[in-house]
Assembly symmetry: C2
Homo-oligomer: 323 residues x 2
């Protein structure tokens, strides 16, 4: 019984995360692990440029959440944020559909300046995270620019165009990742995987959050062949996404909107699925895919919830035998 190894010694965890849901579990993992044990590989395919500033919504959501400064109501952005710059941009006649707060702007301004100076996104995020007192490593999935483009009945849409500007109202008929062919897992990601004792796929959208990370050439294979257990937490609970459009997206892509559908997307990659108790009846179908199943309360409503789920994920994950 290995279930409690992580409580006694060093257990390095590599988590894969997108935005709000992933950030919550990452925060739970950071809370229960020792400083330095957690590395979070974050989707960057939702990055985009706004007024020449390089905005990284998923990376920043994870960073602000781990720094304890995230807006607790929205899950994204910084708590207690002001929007004076955005109001001024609006006064100048600009379309202010993406809600950039004033403190948040500092992140984009500094990141953009350093990117233009030739630094890697990995280096920059490491410095910003450290400045915010974060003990975990927040790792962009790659340093090359990749952009999620969604095919919809109205034509292709950039991700933030679909997600924020049009409020996720479009049916998603397909997805492609511009630039993914030139991307590669960074040295930092490869090093974190090399020392990982457990891989955790956070409850993020499997199509547009975890999907792009796995699509970085070599990444899925590296994860699948790593000699450590891998566990995924389902972002689908009771037939619905915990947050965002994952449920509708899976449906329109022909994927069953259930933890079983999610498990199928991760087949050959994960050894165990954590699902919510309401989906406990699906356990057998997931186990038929060769995965172990933990049914528990998978919805994180507050910090104690995050830490409790993180502990359960670690107990369950470290007890799995990798396939």
């Amino acid at each position: 019984m290995l279930a409690n190894v992580w409580r006694d010694g060093t257990v390095n965890v590599l988590a894969l995360a997108g935005g709000v849901g992933g950030a919550k579990l990452a925060a739970g993992l950071e809370a229960v692990l020792a400083r330095g044990e957690l590395s979070v590989v974050v989707n960057t395919a939702d990055d985009f440029d706004l007024w020449g500033l390089h905005v990284c919504p998923d990376l920043d959501t994870v960073m602000y959440t781990l720094a304890g400064i995230a807006n607790p109501e929205t899950g994204w952005g910084i708590g207690g944020e002001s929007f004076d710059a955005l109001e001024m941009l609006s006064r100048y006649g600009e379309d202010t559909w993406f809600k950039l707060g004033d403190r948040d702007l500092a992140t984009h301004i500094l990141r953009t300046a350093r990117l233009r100076a030739g630094e890697t996104l990995t280096r920059i995020i490491a410095d910003l995270s450290t400045a915010l007192g974060i003990g975990s490593a927040i790792l962009p999935m790659c340093d090359e620019p990749v952009a999620t483009v969604l095919d919809t009945p109205d034509g292709p849409l950039e991700f933030q165009e679909y997600f924020v500007r049009r409020g996720q109202r479009d049916e998603v008929l397909g997805m492609w990742l511009r630039g993914i062919g030139d991307a590669r897992p960074t040295d930092a990601v490869q090093e974190a995987l090399a020392v990982a004792d457990l891989v955790v796929l956070c409850p993020s959208n499997p199509v547009v959050s975890i999907g792009p990370i796995l699509a970085v050439p070599g990444m899925r294979e590296a994860l699948a062949s790593a000699p450590v257990p891998s566990v995924a937490v389902s972002p689908i609970v009771g037939g619905r996404a915990l947050k965002g459009p994952a449920d509708r997206m899976l449906a329109s892509l022909g994927v069953e909107v259930s933890p079983v559908g999610v498990a199928r997307m991760y087949e050959g990659l994960v050894d165990g699925m954590v699902i919510d108790g309401v989906d406990g009846g699906e356990g057998d179908r997931i186990e038929a895919l060769g995965m172990r199943v933990l049914a528990t309360a998978a919805v994180m409503r507050d910090a104690p919830d995050r830490a409790r789920l993180a502990r359960e994920v670690l107990d369950f994950g470290t007890g799995l035998v990798t396939l």
Copy 2:
């Protein structure tokens, strides 16, 4: 007697201005002239880049002042401004010596994005000014990048380095304008001069504010040969600069720190000098340079002061016979 022509018909005024002092008289001129009659040519040699953002302190001071949103206490920046982005940049470990407010940042972000897209500074400032409801034309002295560099005992300093970061404490031994050889008066400046009935040199620093405007190749000659009167308002009152380091700068450059010293710098260019009453005794020495003199209350403490001085400048200036 032409003194009151401007009160009855159209009188187009071309004003040359730097920062706070110039902006105040420009605001007075705008208040007493009809909409569209005022064009303000503004120094851009104090422009600089900060975190990749193109900051134009003098242009923005004039723009915010004419828009009625300037900080009344400092004269620069926007009134009631917040500094959340700057505080966040400081948290990231950045040196925040230049006080960028949140609303002010919007100006720099949008301007930088549009410059990168290939638009001219003239076009951008025209749009921003219009959006802020300004009826006057605010004209950058040129669209090419020019930078004031000051020679000091500690070596050369960029203008904002000298002015803000080091608090004007360095002795100025000389000044040069990087890029000035490639600059030229914009079409907008030339057109404004072509229709001007009066040229006003605002009470800005004659070395680092008015100086760079006059140094744009062809500008001084165009002003000197324009068949309209030209009047300058002395920024030196009672042996001191109204604001800023003009007095010390003149002294270290070997220029007499008085309206006479200023008048000598404008010799061959202006037909009249407006000086403060405390300097009334210097009138004869200025007239000996071939200029007419108006001694009045030249310090602008509030909006009525600005309008009063503007009226006096217009009365005096339009009554001058160009040399």
